[in-house]
């Protein structure tokens, strides 16, 4: 088996037993990227020199014999909305095409401290607004399972790189499903942590009350390994929550016991392909045979989650993206003769169509005359959704649901209709609105041979339980690997 197919845990064992060195490992990955990236288009910046330099530094640490993280020497990719000092961070937008951050995101600094090796920055939907990684100045990301299909979004590059063995793991960001959906489409594991669990410092903001960075990995154990490093309080992020340390790997294989799994009627009665429902139900039945108790639950307000999500996220985006004025950083229109013209033309030319649509929608929702009936209404719906989740969790341990109504769709199939992709996000946006942790774990293949994921949504800060259940699913269903 190629070294690039191995998980973090397997690769770490090979490094420690000296069957491979970090520089050789990094070179293997860089060679694979050279071969496959022209097709898959997951990387937009490849850090050849920096990667080898980091690999050499990691080898020294491994050779010193001191106790180090499993991530030492492990090659990774980062979604291109995570700031990396002195390395371009574009958000797949013309607006930031040449932007080189003078600082690094906390998550990147933590991974660097553990000796992880950055291979490059990963393609995405522009400013994380999208569900297919087609709205990008770099061209669409192609699904490694079938290059005619999307990899999902907005963390499509992050998902595709791991699925195609072009990174051992990656980080994505999730505002309305942007880790879970591409993870499902590409047959890997993707976790959106509880809001406040992972620092957002250095994540280019889309919707600040919804955004979270999370791991995208080949298996659930790797997800736990990465979470151990990236999660935890950060005083640079005012929304970071100071919880006690947890080892997410501990007890991962201790089984599910009499786990009470809630199945939201509103989601299971929503439109979805038969093979999606079949794969999810079949997986749940396997858990039931291990002792889990399946219970129907109701989340009535989840049916209004998509409009609420869109209004809140667009409103926050319209505020967050007001900083792009063409003056301090980012794209600048050179012909403007007044500062007013400079703002208007720089933003018109710097932002893509989807970004402009959302900024306009958010501006409208927040404007006088509509603020109460749109934005404030959405906030109230958010309260209802959070309260309904809390009520359900009084009697169940975890919620299970599909991730998306379909498996991956063909490139170009949905991009022309702004509403079509949006309404499909009903399975994922609820967890963002309520700030809950949610994970996608592979559970089968569609009739076209494309991956399907099952989603678990947990109580706040219950990632350890979710990882344990995800592990149990993985043991039952096996890992999905392309070509097998």
């Amino acid at each position: 088996m190629s070294i690039c197919k191995k998980t973090i845990k397997e690769t770490a064992e090979l490094l420690r037993s000296k069957k491979i060195g970090t520089v050789e490992l990094t070179d293997e990955y860089l060679n694979e990227i050279r071969k496959k990236n022209p097709t898959i288009n997951s990387y937009v910046t490849i850090c050849n020199e920096e990667a080898v330099k980091a690999a050499k530094a990691s080898q020294k640490i491994l050779d010193s014999g001191e106790a180090v993280s499993l991530l030492c020497g492990i090659p990774m990719g980062l979604k291109d909305n995570i700031c990396t000092k002195d390395i371009k961070t574009t958000c797949a937008s013309n607006m930031l095409k040449s932007y080189i951050p003078p600082y690094s995101a906390t998550v990147y600094e933590r991974l660097q401290q553990e000796g992880a090796v950055l291979l490059g920055k990963l393609n995405m939907d522009e400013f994380a607004m999208g569900s297919s990684s087609e709205c990008t100045i770099f061209g669409p990301v192609r699904n490694p399972w079938n290059s005619e299909y999307v990899a999902g979004g907005s963390s499509g590059g992050s998902a595709a790189s791991v699925a195609a063995n072009l990174a051992t793991f990656s980080l994505g960001s999730d505002t309305g499903g942007s880790i879970r959906q591409p993870a499902s489409f590409c047959g890997i594991v993707g976790l959106k942590p509880t809001y406040g669990r992972v620092s957002r410092y250095g994540l280019v903001a889309f919707a600040s009350s919804l955004d979270q960075i999370g791991p995208m990995t080949k298996d659930v154990t790797d997800c736990a390994i990465v979470m151990n490093v990236i999660s935890g309080y950060d005083n640079k992020d005012s929304t970071s929550v100071n919880t006690s340390y947890e080892d997410f790997i501990e007890d991962i294989d201790s089984g599910i016991g009499r786990l009470r799994i809630g199945l939201p009627l509103e989601l299971f009665n929503s439109a979805m392909d038969d093979d999606i429902k079949g794969a999810v139900i079949s997986t749940l039945r396997r858990l039931e045979s291990q002792g889990a108790i399946l219970q129907d639950v109701s989340l009535p307000s989840i049916l209004n989650s998509v409009p609420a999500y869109y209004l809140i996220s667009s409103s926050e985006a319209s505020s967050n993206l007001a900083r792009y004025d063409g003056i301090r950083y980012g794209y600048r229109n050179e012909k403007a003769e007044t500062v007013s013209e400079l703002y208007r033309m720089s933003r018109a030319e710097g932002f893509g169509g989807e970004v402009k649509r959302r900024v306009l929608a958010g501006t409208y929702a927040l404007s006088s005359g509509y603020h109460d009936e749109l934005y404030n209404k959405a906030l109230k719906v958010r309260t209802l959704i959070s309260n309904e989740f809390s009520l359900v969790y009084e009697n169940i341990d975890i919620i299970a649901a599909p991730v998306y109504p379909t498996a991956a769709f063909k490139i170009g199939e949905k991009v022309i209709d702004p509403l079509k992709m949006l309404v499909s996000e009903i399975f994922t946006v609820g967890a963002n609105l309520a700030g809950l942790p949610a994970i996608s774990v592979p559970c089968g293949l569609s009739k076209d041979g494309l991956p399907i994921g099952i989603q678990l949504i947990g109580k706040p800060f219950s990632e350890k339980l979710m990882i344990r259940v995800g592990y149990a699913i993985e043991q039952e269903m096996g890992r999905l690997e392309i070509g097998e």
Binding site: V241, A308, Y310, Y329, V339, L360, N376, V381, S386
Partner: protein, 94 residues
């Protein structure tokens, strides 16, 4: 959603829209906001406004002198600078 409303929103958002693009934006915005407006008539009872899931706390640092980041490093991403300042076109139009 009509042309006048989209133009007004674009003005507030400081985004220029060409005349030949306006129709397309009106169509898209009409579709999207039409969908969003289903919330208008929703009965939400006594539900409070929920803006965030964790209350932000101000991140104060200790008040001690320290070396500030290098100015040139901080402005290196600006397209047009002069004498360590951001340079812009005329602000107050004659």
């Amino acid at each position: 959603m009509d042309k006048k409303t989209v133009r007004k929103m674009a003005d507030v958002a400081n985004i220029h829209i060409d005349d030949n693009e306006l129709e397309s934006y009106v169509e898209d915005m009409d579709l999207i906001m039409g969908y969003m407006e289903q919330l208008k008539n929703l009965h939400t009872g006594e539900a409070e406004l929920k803006e965030a899931n964790s209350l932000p706390s101000n991140g104060f640092r200790e008040d001690f002198p320290h070396i500030s980041p290098d100015r040139d490093e901080l402005i290196k991403n600006a397209s047009v600078t002069q004498d360590g300042c951001f340079k812009v076109p005329v602000v107050v139009e004659p």
